[in-house]
């Protein structure tokens, strides 16, 4: 063939070499571009392919009482998570996990639902697994692909129920919380505070999550738990130091009569809350690692509403303790002095227009001055004092004293008290001329009527009364900067009212709470005021707010018991709390302390056995109110 002369072939060979050379240069160039110039981009791409971030929970900050005792801490716990390529394979693995730890079908549905929502995150199966469970799962690891067991700090409340409403509880953040951005920085799966101090100070306590990478293959199966890439350690949450006295808090829990609903708060005249207790309580430890749906349902449907913090969320008619507020208004306005007597002496009641208003004491108090009226809680005296003040003044001064505002304690969800802002309130509520100003005045002057207060709010008033006459905002960790209202009383007026409250205890409605005890029992003078909040739905609620030592108070303790009929039932519990705090645990064992606690109607003897030194054991109360069962 002619075309194959040697010079022509050489020429073609040269062309062919050039063409091949250029083609390979193009190929090499493409690789150079991909491997050298775009290396970092593809490197990142390869890593996001195979590395799945797993959040590392940060240990929450400790919650300490005022002397550093632990209210909430962290202990090592284990979480069990699964990485699965699909919902079906997740179900299959869950079924095998279920052979080790029972998982009910509702939980499986929930786990799968959450997996679908965040497919690339490991699905949380058990938030709080114990060591034996983890060990048994670990044994079966080969048949449980995608199993991730992580040691995680877990919340522990050593005092359990005793601190329930104070600390609140923690739980996994919900999708709703995230959507509303209620917890800045939280991600799906984060543990956040849902109530109490845990919620209020969640920002400080939570810390920042770390992250760890695990390696997965193309089908989303876990390959290695330890990926070579460095992990980012979590930043632990900051501890908070509270004003709480854990010993007192636990003591109150131990002496609280079983089955009784109510609340108790102890605070110093400066507003530092030493104890805050609500009954019935729940165990905040139940929420750690996810509360079971059965228990959650039970807590929410229980008639006694254990999740309700009665110290700050429940409003009660302030009743007799409000008489001190009426006294303070009258003193401030100079309408009366401590020894002023009213024109009509108490004969067990008082006629006003066509209605007869009773005093709680049928036989009457006779002619008493202000101190005597406070001591005896004489309704007739306060009817007349109220009329002298006038409804308008009662409302105005009440608003000034803060009875219309929240106390401002650093806990979330405090209820706002109900208190009218002006007379127009009644017109709006009942219509003009449909209500009787004098009758309303009488109701208000004994703490009844359209006036309901939370325990914490009443405590604020009594704390002012026990101290300088200026209300300070109660606080557990940090006091709000708003300045409290002044009662507007002079030192001698305050002193006089305090004396009246001592008289309550010594000879009035709480007589006998000045404990008569034999032997080495230390003496403690206590001042305070009982009250019976009329409950239209059943038996009345009992109040007692007291402080001690009466001469120079260091602690104010207030308690309310629902369906306790009379404040006098509350007195012993409050008194014991005061004694415990001020005198410390008794050194003598099993001192028999006799308390004579009269009821508003008929005084009777109450036996109180203190075994303080033997620890804090619940003490049965003689003559326990009958209305302890939920109606």
């Amino acid at each position: 063939m002619n075309g194959f002369d040697s010079y022509k072939v050489r020429e073609r060979a040269d062309v062919a070499r050039w063409v091949l050379g250029v083609a390979f240069l193009v190929l090499g160039g493409a690789f150079f571009r991909t491997q050298v110039m775009q290396h970092e981009k593809f490197q990142l791409r390869a890593e996001t392919n195979r590395l799945r971030p797993i959040p590392l929970a940060a240990p929450r900050g400790q919650i300490l009482d005022r002397s550093g005792r632990i209210i909430a801490e962290n202990v090592p716990g284990y979480s069990v998570k699964l990485i699965a390529p699909s919902a079906d394979s997740l179900r299959a693995v869950l079924a095998r996990v279920g052979q080790v730890v029972p998982i009910d079908s509702g939980a499986v549905t929930e786990i799968v639902r959450r997996f679908r929502a965040a497919r690339y995150q490991p699905a949380l199966v058990l938030g709080d697994a114990d060591f034996t469970t983890v060990a048994r799962l670990e044994e079966r690891r080969s048949s449980l692909p995608g199993l991730v067991i992580q040691a995680e700090p877990k919340r522990l409340y050593p005092s359990g129920r005793a601190v329930a409403h104070l600390v609140g509880y923690v739980s996994e953040v919900t999708e709703g919380d995230l959507a509303a951005q209620r917890f800045p920085g939280a991600q799906l799966g984060s543990i956040v505070g849902k109530a109490g101090l845990e919620k209020q100070y969640d920002d400080s306590l939570r810390g920042d999550e770390g992250v760890r990478y695990i390696e997965v293959n193309a089908r989303g199966r876990l390959v290695r738990e330890e990926a070579s890439t460095a992990t980012l350690p979590p930043t632990p949450g900051r501890p908070i130091r509270t004003t709480i006295d854990l010993d007192l808090q636990r003591f109150i829990d131990s002496i609280w009569p079983a089955g009784i609903r109510g609340a108790m708060i102890a605070m110093t005249p400066a507003g530092e809350v030493r104890a805050l207790y609500s009954a019935p309580a729940y165990d905040p430890n139940d929420f750690v690692g996810g509360i079971s749906s059965r228990l959650w349902r039970q807590l929410n449907t229980d008639d006694a509403k254990p999740l309700l913090n009665r110290a700050i969320q429940t409003r009660y008619p302030p009743a007799s303790p409000f008489k001190l507020a009426i006294s303070a208004m009258a003193l401030k306005r100079g309408l009366v002095s401590l020894d002023t007597r009213m024109p009509v002496p108490c004969r067990g009641g008082m006629q006003l227009g066509n209605r007869y208003f009773r005093c709680w004491k049928k036989e009457g108090h006779g002619a008493v001055d202000l101190i005597g009226a406070v001591a005896g809680s004489c309704d007739v005296y306060f009817y007349q004092l109220g009329l002298r003040l006038g409804l308008d003044a009662i409302i105005k001064d009440g608003v000034l004293m803060g009875f219309r505002d929240r106390s401002g304690i650093d806990l979330e969800n405090e209820s706002r008290p109900i208190y009218p802002s002006s007379l127009a309130y009644f017109d709006r509520l009942y219509g003009p001329r449909n209500w009787s100003p004098p009758a309303t005045t009488l109701n208000f002057s004994i703490g009844q009527g359209e006036n309901t207060q939370t325990l914490i709010n009443m405590m604020r008033f009594y704390q002012a009364l026990s101290g300088t006459g200026i209300e300070s905002t109660p606080y557990i960790v940090r006091q709000s900067s708003t300045r409290g209202a002044s009662l507007g009383l002079t030192a001698s007026q305050l002193d006089g009212l305090r004396h009246a409250l001592i008289a309550v205890v010594e000879r009035g409605t709480a007589a006998g709470s000045a404990i008569r005890a034999g032997g080495k029992q230390k003496e403690l003078s206590i001042a305070g005021k009982t009250g019976t909040a009329q409950n239209p739905h059943g038996k009345d609620h009992g109040w007692f707010i007291g402080f001690a030592p009466a001469e120079k108070p260091v602690l104010v303790v207030g308690g309310i018991m629902e369906f306790a009929e009379h404040g006098t039932n509350v007195v012993p519990t409050v008194v014991r709390a005061l004694r415990r705090y001020i005198l410390g645990p008794d050194t003598t064992t099993a001192v028999k302390v006799e308390l004579i606690v009269p009821q508003d109607s008929a005084p009777r003897t109450l036996d109180l056995e203190t075994t303080d030194s033997a620890g804090i054991a619940p003490v049965p109360l003689d003559g326990r109110p009958t209305a302890k069962e939920p109606r």
């Binding site: 194959f4 070499r17 091949l20 190929l27 991909t34 290396h39």
Partner: protein, 413 residues
């Protein structure tokens, strides 16, 4: 001395390529996920042995005998392609195609591989038997038929990758036979028209440019008229042809243009391969250590995408070495073709260059998204029996031609 006349360069570069391929194939089986690629490197040893036998046999066959046998081999391979269309089975990722010949349930090979060599032989025989190189289109009817038959049969399987190889062989051998590049350009122009038809503007520009080129070159009347008509027809046929393609073929072409169109499905191979290669960097992630491969993100790591393993684990350095070895092999083959004692053997060797080059460029190009993805193996690297044996056979033929040319060099006739 017989040994002294063996082409040492060819032996050397071939041995290096086979060794490199085996090393990479071993790594391809080292994964954290159970894979059928785990033991293939061991099987490949068997194929290397079979390949050695095939090369030895090819080396010992006289080219005169080969030239005489060419029509028979060609006819036989065409017959196999027809049979495989009827009873063929699919394999691997191309499960539904008809490219494998099975006997008694065992897949014994892909006839298209044999057809490539047979076509090279047949075309070499046809071209070398002519007095003059083809000068006009009507001179190319014969070669066109020789290529067209296996091309269409393979395309029908469907195996686009192998079909493209026939086109590569066709152009390479025509060029080597002395066909003027202008004629090759005219021949290729309908294909270019087809590709550009997806953009109306580009296509109009192309047609105008084409007319200008005809004006300048003044080819035979029939030639340019036919080519112009073919260009126009291709342009108009583009859309119907596109619709005629199977959806997976359409996707491959679309994702070639932009792999992110469908990153989970059609673009997955293209993306993961590039990620593997790109994450390799200059020196790679280390032999057998590539995470993309280990964790099964890289698909077909022992067959079509074996070169991505090179890129990931040995980096640009490993890629450079592999490409350099291939280029060296081609230069050696071109030298052998140039010094071949006769036109037939020269054309055969250059046909083999065309065959290998098309495979290498298409396969390596698709791993970096330079070429659209077609199922086409990489010589000496991809696992696969029949293709490896055919490649070895080709090397044996080249060895023989080198031997013959050295012998003839002594006698110098």
């Amino acid at each position: 001395m017989r040994a002294a006349r063996i082409d040492g360069q060819l032996i050397g570069v071939s041995a290096l390529l086979v060794a490199y391929g085996l090393i990479i194939l071993y790594s391809a089986g080292q994964t954290d996920v159970p894979t059928r690629a785990a033991g293939v490197w061991w099987h490949q040893f068997i194929w290397v042995g079979v390949g050695l036998v095939a090369a030895t046999v090819a080396f010992n066959v006289s080219f005169r005998l080969l030239e005489w046998l060419s029509p028979i081999v060609y006819g036989f391979s065409i017959l196999l392609l027809v049979i495989v269309l009827v009873v063929g089975t699919g394999a691997g990722t191309a499960e539904s195609s008809h490219s494998w010949l099975s006997i008694g349930g065992h897949q014994i090979g892909q006839p298209s591989e044999l057809a490539k060599v047979a076509t090279v032989l047949m075309l070499a025989r046809f071209l070398s038997s002519r007095k003059e190189p083809p000068r006009a289109l009507h001179d190319l009817i014969g070669p066109g038929l020789i290529i067209g038959a296996p091309f269409l049969l393979v395309l029908k399987q469907p195996d686009l990758g192998s079909a493209i190889v026939f086109v590569g062989i066709f152009f390479a051998m025509l060029f080597w036979a002395g066909v003027r590049p202008r004629l090759l350009f005219l021949l290729a122009s309908p294909g270019i028209s087809l590709l550009l038809a997806f953009s109306t503007v580009a296509w109009i520009v192309w047609i105008l440019a084409f007319v200008l080129i005809i004006w300048a070159w003044r080819p035979y009347l029939w030639d340019w008229a036919l080519c112009l008509i073919a260009n126009v027809v291709m342009g108009t046929l583009a859309m119907p042809l596109w619709k005629h393609l199977a959806p997976y073929q359409q996707n491959r072409l679309l994702t070639f243009l932009n792999p992110e169109v469908d990153p989970r499905a059609a673009g997955y191979h293209a993306i993961q391969s590039r990620v593997a290669i790109g994450s390799g960097g200059w020196f790679g992630t280390g032999y057998t250590q590539g995470p993309q491969k280990r964790l099964a993100f890289l698909p077909e790591q022992h067959t079509d995408f074996v070169f991505s393993v090179v890129g990931e684990e040995l980096g640009f350095l490993g890629v450079f070495v592999a490409l350099a070895l291939f280029l060296t092999l081609f230069f050696v083959l071109i030298r052998i073709a140039r010094r071949a004692p006769d036109a037939f053997s020269s054309l055969v060797i250059f046909g083999i260059v065309g065959l290998f080059f098309t495979h290498v460029f298409e396969n390596v190009g698709m791993t970096v998204n330079l070429m659209p993805i077609t199922g086409i193996p990489l010589p000496f690297f991809s696992y696969g029996g029949s293709f490896f044996v055919i490649c070895s056979l080709c090397l044996g033929l080249a060895m023989r031609v080198a031997w013959d040319s050295r012998l003839s060099g002594y006698h110098d006739f």
